[in-house]
């Protein structure tokens, strides 16, 4: 079947398109314009509308044990418990796999990456993803606090052996990439260490966070995993120490690709009478100057949310600020983690400055292909706040109005009021489509060239950018019309994008023995068999680099 999206303003930076034209989709895939004589089976009139590829979210906690615990911890924000339904951002999220898929699709997002899958929770994460409708999904698997990696580094094992272990982990968990979260920090916390810097060593192992991070960065490169190592730095949220940690980490990239997650949470200094200040400008300059790194923001927006993280050390510390005052802390194999509710308040100097620092970073980092659009959902804010963030980036009038509503002391501590930049539609498309596809190594999406998957979002432009991005006029998923006027009209299931590296057989034998001897667990329990997910084609395999 041939579908024609007719006469829209096509914004497709990956193919240098920015003008009125058509997009054709045949049997789920974007195709070249057919011969003039051929009639399309279906024509969608896009006159006056903006046509982009489906958006890609590279970092959003949507599935797995910790996310599910957060649902358990905060039932009162679900509709049935809320005295004023729809009043809080989280109640809008709906907080289920079903709502996650539908709400993303309605905003024109068609691919979302769950960035913190524990190897021991891989099947669980994929079961949730298999229940998340419409969108395609992918996961990053977490290493860097696991006994085996630390022991291999301590023992001076070969790069090849370590790469093989990483390869096994990616293959058995069906991941698209690798993440490290406060490398060594959770392992140190289990030894009762309460503060852990980039050059601190994990007790007993004598291995530093830097060593762990560099080891994983190199293994990812050796294996040809397209997505660079995805790093959650040490000292998240700590004024001064957070910005020291991210600076040291960025400098340690040393010419090889590295992705730094939710950098807003590291843009904190200790200046001012409250000992809390913005280092947004300085951090943006460092990112601008370090071409091998990419970053996402983790923008804070105001309202009730819940933080979910495998950074057990920092979540334990943050539990003291939990609002409401309750949290769940996990001591699992490897990372563990924590779930801590958070209520970001407009009236709070601290929260308002966090909001401003996120926007400084978005606006001062010059290259939209190296800065990615995230709230670290739900850590900075639920993903349902995205339309407001698009408006804040694209319209300085909107920023000025928001700033006015914040404590006066905040405006003095941020360069935000002086920043004039407004993101163009092309830059938005780069940041949310073209660049994420390149970063993830998923060449089949993020653009509208021939051969791309038929994932398309069409928006009704207007002065109110939040309204424009909240409700897509049309969304096509693999060529099927799934959203019309901001509402889902067809429910289907997407797939999980995975790599399929082939680890050495000897590594399987070694891990069979290791998990059995050390933990009393079967290594097979870490696997995600295709047949376990109850969907016809649950995976789509993406190639590694040769």
């Amino acid at each position: 079947m041939l579908t024609r999206l007719k006469g829209g303003h096509v914004v497709d930076p990956a193919n240098d398109r920015d003008g009125v034209g058509d997009v054709f989709i045949e049997d789920g895939t974007v195709v070249e314009a057919p011969a003039p004589a051929r009639e399309a089976d279906e024509t969608i009139d896009c006159t006056g509308l903006v046509v982009m590829a489906g958006a890609i979210d590279i970092h959003s906690h949507i599935a797995g044990g910790h996310v599910n615990t957060a649902r358990l911890l905060l039932p009162e924000w679900h509709r049935a418990f809320s005295s004023r339904p729809g009043e809080t951002a989280l109640s809008k999220v709906g907080w289920t796999t079903e709502e996650t898929g539908l709400r993303y699709a309605e905003m024109g997002f068609t691919t979302v990456v769950e960035p913190a899958m524990a190897p021991s929770s891989a099947l669980h994460a994929h079961l949730e993803l298999a229940d998340t409708p419409i969108i395609d999904k992918a996961t990053l698997v977490v290493l860097g606090n696991d006994d085996l990696l630390l022991e291999m580094i301590r023992a001076g094992e070969s790069d090849a052996a370590i790469a093989d272990y990483v390869s096994w982990t990616v293959a058995s968990s069906r991941a698209l990439g690798v993440k490290c979260i406060n490398a060594g920090g959770s392992a140190a916390f289990k030894e009762n260490v309460r503060k852990f810097d980039f050059d601190d060593v994990v007790p007993d192992y004598g291995v530093s966070s830097r060593q762990i991070m560099k080891t994983l960065q190199s293994a990812v490169k050796t294996l040809g995993i397209p997505h660079p190592l995805h790093v959650h730095c040490n000292n998240l949220g700590v004024p001064g120490a957070s910005s020291d940690a991210i600076e040291a980490t960025i400098k340690a990239a040393e010419g090889d690709p590295l992705h730094l997650a939710h950098i807003q949470f590291y843009g904190y200094g200790t200046e001012g009478k409250r000992r809390f200040s913005s280092r947004g400008q300085k951090l943006a300059e460092l990112v601008n100057a370090t071409k091998e790194v990419t970053v996402d923001i983790g923008q804070v927006m105001f309202g009730q949310t819940v933080t979910i993280s495998s950074d057990e050390l920092r979540q334990f510390a943050g539990a003291k600020q939990a609002s409401p005052g309750k949290s769940i802390i996990f001591d699992h194999e490897a990372n563990g983690g924590g779930v801590v509710p958070m209520d970001y308040k407009k009236k709070s100097f601290h929260n308002a400055l966090q909001w401003a620092i996120g926007l400084e970073l978005f606006l001062l980092i010059e290259d939209p292909s190296r800065v990615f659009f995230t709230t670290d959902h739900p850590n900075g804010a639920p993903f349902t706040t995205y339309p407001d963030i698009f408006a804040l980036l694209m319209d300085r009038g909107v920023r000025a109005r928001w700033l006015e509503a914040l404590p006066k002391s905040v405006a003095k501590m941020t360069s935000l009021p002086e920043i004039e930049r407004e993101y163009t539609l092309g830059e938005i498309a780069t940041m949310t489509r073209a660049a994420p596809a390149r970063l993830l190594g998923t060449a089949d999406r993020g653009h509208l060239g021939a051969g791309a998957v038929g994932d398309v979002s069409v928006y009704r432009p207007g002065d109110d950018k939040a309204a424009m991005f909240a409700r897509a006029a049309y969304v096509l998923k693999d060529g099927d019309l799934v959203v019309r006027d901001g509402a889902v009209v067809k429910r289907k299931f997407g797939r999980a994008l995975t790599l399929r590296p082939e680890p050495d057989k000897a590594m399987q034998t070694r891990l069979d023995r290791y998990f059995d001897d050390k933990y009393g667990l079967s290594s097979r329990w870490f696997e995600v068999p295709e047949g376990a997910l109850g969907r016809e084609e649950p995976f789509k395999v993406m190639p590694c680099r040769a």
């Binding site: 044990g65 289920t96 079961l127 289990k190 309750k326 769940i328 001591d331 194999e333 933990y519 009393g520």
Partner: protein
């Protein structure tokens, strides 16, 4: 081989599905419970309840609710068994249920010693039980025993918390010396693991135990290991949470998932005063032996056991997940879901298959009526 019955008489699968569909179609308040099945079966059960406007619960969710309620009201510290095997140098056994429903876990901890962490490895692992019964560990491993009835355990732990916090410890059922002993045992640990069964202590007692773990973590490291009698109920609760936002006891009677821990509990609904008028009862794991709900409520039974057909209006014999067919099951030892391969080849239908067939039957009926 007979696999379906109507009023206790053998029937074809098609006839039985039709009879069950009719029964559900007429029901004012369907209830889907039992829920002893794999992830595919639970997924299908939710779909059926969604189509039928029904209530869903697991028959044994009452054993979980003290944990669920305590965790969502006050938070928790939770550990994985495998990590505690490698790290816990002190194990506090709280109450009498760990020795029965947690026997496997205790055996694993008794048969191993911590090998991770400068603070915790080297000195072996010591055990202390505050319980009524003495705890016998395998291999002659010793456990100190402080005699304490379940009712008094919670008080004792409260006094331990007061002592750890430097507050005055009031008079209690146990002497100050015991309080001091437990406090020292835990606070001197490199990593303390507290093992308990939430159903033994209820919500308030469970909150006290999580609170103790929280207090300990101000200065040292500690966490808890839960033991539950029905791990598949925990799996069903997790799945309900991602599907509906709530840990079981949910209803789709008003067009969206609603949660009411009292109103929608299986125990209440199955009893005479419950609103449910048709019960779909799923009992499809190995070792199926759950007794039928009372016969005054018409029941559609989906069971892996034999000889469970009498009393049910319609009955289906299905395979047990993980034994007769592959399935994903919650594994307490792993602390998460595990894909489990069948032990034998079986021609029996799956619980998920029957539930899906019932759900699509309701879908068709709804279309015909429209």
């Amino acid at each position: 081989m007979e696999t379906a019955w109507i009023d206790g008489k053998p029937a074809s699968l098609e006839e039985a599905l039709r009879a069950a569909g009719t029964l559900l179609g007429k029901a004012r308040q369907p209830l889907v419970t039992g829920l002893r099945t794999d992830v595919a079966g639970v997924r299908a059960a939710f779909l059926l309840a969604l189509r039928a406007g029904g209530i869903v619960d697991h028959a044994k969710s009452a054993g979980l609710y003290p944990f669920i309620a305590a965790a969502r009201d006050g938070g928790a510290f939770l550990a994985a068994p495998g990590e505690m095997r490698r790290r816990a140098d002190r194990v506090l056994i709280v109450g009498d249920e760990p020795a029965t429903i947690g026997a496997d876990l205790l055996r694993m901890l008794a048969e191993t010693t911590p090998d991770l962490g400068v603070r915790s490895r080297g000195a072996g692992r010591s055990f202390m039980a505050v319980s009524r019964q003495t705890v016998t560990l395998p291999g002659g491993v010793e456990s100190d025993h402080l005699d304490c009835a379940s009712d008094d355990v919670v008080d004792l732990l409260g006094m331990v918390r007061a002592k750890l916090g430097g507050r005055r410890v009031g008079e209690g059922a146990v002497g100050d010396e015991v309080v001091e002993t437990v406090a020292r045992f835990l606070s001197e640990a490199g990593f303390a693991a507290i093992i308990f069964s939430p159903s033994e202590f209820g919500e308030i007692g469970t909150e006290q135990i999580f609170g103790l773990a929280e207090d300990l973590n101000q200065t040292t490291r500690a966490s808890t290991l839960l033991v539950v009698a029905d791990p598949d109920a925990l799996g069903a609760a997790l799945q309900a949470t991602w599907t509906s936002g709530f840990p079981l006891r949910i209803s789709h009677g008003r067009g969206e998932w609603e949660h009411d821990p009292a109103l929608f509990s299986s125990e209440r609904q199955i009893a005479k005063e419950g609103e449910a008028d048709v019960v779909v009862y799923v009992d499809a794991l190995a070792g199926a032996d759950t007794s039928l709900p009372p016969p005054e409520k018409p029941t559609i039974l989906i069971a892996a056991g034999s000889g469970q057909t009498s009393g049910a209006k319609v009955a289906f014999k299905v395979g047990a997940a993980g034994r007769d067919h592959d399935g994903v099951l919650y594994n307490a030892r792993f602390g998460d879901f595990v894909a489990t391969s069948a032990e034998t080849k079986s021609e029996l239908p799956t619980a998920a298959g029957i539930l899906d067939a019932l759900a699509s039957q309701l879908g068709e009926n709804a279309e015909k009526a429209a």
